[in-house]
Symmetry: D2
Subunit: 298 residues, 4 copies
């Protein structure tokens, strides 16, 4: 099996390593000359068998992905196929698949989870698209996914878009899980009752109901920095949490936990909160105190 | 009608003024010699008719209120009565009423709303306790409450404790209302689409569904400081919001909005959020980036 | 002043009445022959002065509004103008304004609040668009808005789209306010401490911090049905609450209260909640009990 | 090592089995004659060595636990010790420890996690109390905890109360985690995009960021009942989630996610929601429609 891989950033480079280690030949392309295998997308395409090419695209979602797919559409030929593995919004998949289909080029969307640990642990894969094409790409998926039964690390989730939809929900859940652990951590720290907070979280690693890989990572972080002194409380969000809430609103699905986790991230990045200034201004108005912090309610 | 009034802070002093303006004689006591009418609680009690005394207590909830009530229990006599008007937790009312009842002293609890505006607008009153005693104190309530029908500014809400319970819920609602306006304000400010935000809020003053006194106050605040530049986003909370959520939990009542408003206040007072540090640490762990803010999710 | 008014449903018919009562001539059109003044949109346009026409469109947002505007574009002439008063999404305003501008037809978007009470109280108006056109339509706005200073019931909020954006946020706030009162009401009802719940809410009508028009309406509802026995707990949502949260997510504005109010509505319409089934299934799995409701946590 | 174990319900009976399988002698007592080893608490105490006794109490929190501890206080002697392993509120631990200390009886509180799976997997243990006593009971803890390094399944979290405090926070986190998965599950089900929802969750079992034991349980539940058709959406709560939020409020720690998860459980158990009736009543009032579900906002 020989495939093309476009995008050799942190994720892509690791994926190339894992694929090669498991017997899949990879022709990698990246704009960064230090990491790329070939000089151009055209060269990448040229090194793959026409009409049977598989090219995995692993570049930033949005404009970059769109540009790469546009260029590939002009270089690839009927029978070839693209696997779009970035964190794209699922609604774009239909558009892209249709555009490539005009050239006879197949399209799969693949949600990929695992972060930097995927290199060793394997990547959880959620794939959308045509079943025949999924079957054709299965050696690639098998090389990337974790060891163990295939269905514990890979799913053909549905038609085009289903892979990115599943990944979007996966990340929405991830927001909620992280915030749940974080709130518990803060409460443990807030009282002097539990005197060994890192040890307590570590003791949840086995046997308990809350054990998870995220917990293991939090334990690891606390071993490196027991009071998280070196860590900023500024938390970015990457799109999928937002899309998850947008989708839930569109489907009238209540999402109190995942939305609260998302809003906590927004708030973490604010200097002064305009909303809380407004609340403060209101209290000043009815309580008659301009700056006293410990004002009474009306 | 002649009553005693203990506590001549911002609220108490205004209440004394309103009562006097409406024909109720007031003997006021405060530890502050600049504002007090008499030198001691004993003097205050001495100036009221034994066995028919009414003493309104308007001091900070908690220890101060408890100390005043204890001292009054030793000074007053059977037939007298106390009206506890502070922001006390309703569960304390039963204890206090029972302690005073041992001396034959009556007890009413009164929730008082209106802030500094009560002097002119009157105070919304929610009263708990014995109906006969409520009737006896009605001239006082009528002087304090807003003009208009009695039932639009006064309620005998139930037995001892009901007044403070009603006030507690009132303040919980207040938290939710303030946060709702504040969130809307922030969203208006966040986009450049509405170019006259203070004017937009002012235009909601009449006719709209969201018109309210709190909105009027927000309009006023924005007229004084159109971008709230001089206002801190640090927002205190005074107990009643917390008690409201505690009560809801005790009764298994879902309170998503009021609790969210309370938590937003807690968060407004944090320097760095330990919870968000934990989320940040988790993202670093799985994403492999220590400080890059725009990290991707796993 | 003479204008056209398209859409004579509950809102439109009341607006026609208010306009006529205040000296604005109205030619109304509705598909319902029982309420319309003219037989067709063409007839409506024909009764207005070419090149100076003002036509207020007050039909359901979405397809109906789009169809009406398309038809009007073919009937009206350069110099005429449309005021779009429905609950449309603000992003559509730019598209519509541009399409009409090709015909030289002006466009204003107007957010209208007040419900069935607007007939008597006047309507709160938030308008977006060109200042000159706003000035031309001012007699109409003045007739519709509440009595009192213009800026307390009307705002020119910004360029095209600003009116609907302001109305969207207004309704988002409305969701939060309603839920805050509703949660407080439920908590009062949940405990037997306050024995006169309707009376307590009524006593908040004057003087208190939480007094508002929405509170007045809740008092009125409780006077008609003291335990809300005849009211369903099924609560619809109409789009603007959803758009408000979507916008906040787009702008990274935390909206915990308004989103919680929206999600409570979603949940109110579910038969069995799939999410809570999943939680229940999880508890069964780790607790080892298939159907016992009072199961212990792990 | 030989200990007493009071309470042989689902948890206690499994713990007895695990202890015995790992070489700890157990004298078990339960009011149920079918499962008990001895006829009375007195008999249990009699079978243990005076002055060195260890008795693990594993009965329902609250009155039952209090009664058992009171009875043990009368039966045990100085030098003995009790390990309270139930889901008790941590504030009670200090009271109990002090009462037993008057008899020279030691006290440890132990939070125990693992549910019915603990028999095979071992139990996660969080222990509070005196270090010397913890060391004495370590063979019991080692037999109960999961295999592997001790600190991954056991922690001496602090002084008396710390064990139950840690367990309380553990369960609060658990609420948040469960709700996060549940919301994601509902969203996957709500759209027809992912056509294999159980398979998608199963594919998250390895490699992904959200992998956890709770996820494994949800996968298992969906394998048994792919649409959760046989599962009620009525979800109980057991105290610790409530205490967690109470504690957070007491410490001014924002807990949006865990509280939302708790409130979702409350709501799941309501027939008709009084709050949503109030919202519905409000919409009827301003919208002028008594029963139409799809009413427009004001």
């Amino acid at each position: 099996m020989r495939i093309g891989l476009v995008g050799l950033g942190k994720m892509g480079a690791n994926m190339r390593s894992r694929l090669r280690a498991r017997g899949v030949e990879v022709v990698g392309y990246d704009r960064n000359p230090d990491v790329t295998d070939v000089a151009s997308l055209a060269d990448l395409v040229a090194e793959l068998p026409a009409g049977e090419r598989l090219v995995w695209v692993m570049v930033p979602a949005g404009d970059v992905t769109r540009a790469v797919l546009d260029e590939l559409a002009g270089l690839m030929t009927a029978g070839d196929a693209v696997i779009e593995g970035g964190n794209s919004h699922y609604v774009e998949d239909g558009v892209r698949a249709a555009a490539l289909a005009e050239h006879g080029i197949g399209y799969l969307d693949a949600g990929v989870s695992g972060g930097i640990w995927g290199l060793d642990n394997g990547y959880g894969l959620m794939v959308g698209g045509d079943a025949e094409l999924v079957a054709r790409a299965m050696p690639v998926f098998d090389a990337l996914r974790p060891d163990g039964p295939r269905d514990e690390g890979f799913v053909h989730a549905g038609a085009v878009g289903a892979g990115h939809f599943a990944k979007m929900v996966h990340n929405g859940i991830e927001y909620g899980l992280m915030q749940a652990y974080a709130e518990g951590y803060e409460l443990l720290e807030a009282k002097d009752i539990v005197t060994d907070v890192p040890g307590t979280l570590k003791a949840w690693s086995r046997g308990t109901v809350v054990r998870s890989w995220l917990l293991d990572l939090l334990v690891k972080a606390l071993e490196e920095d027991p009071s998280l002194a070196e860590i900023s409380d500024w938390v970015d969000d990457s799109g999928e949490g937002r899309w998850t809430v947008d989708e839930a609103i569109d489907s009238a699905v209540p999402l109190p936990v995942i939305s609260a986790a998302l809003f906590a991230r927004f708030a973490s990045r604010q200097g002064a909160s305009p909303a809380m200034k407004a609340v403060s201004a209101l209290r000043n108005q009815f309580g008659g105190h301009a700056t006293r912090p410990a004002a009474s309610e009306g």
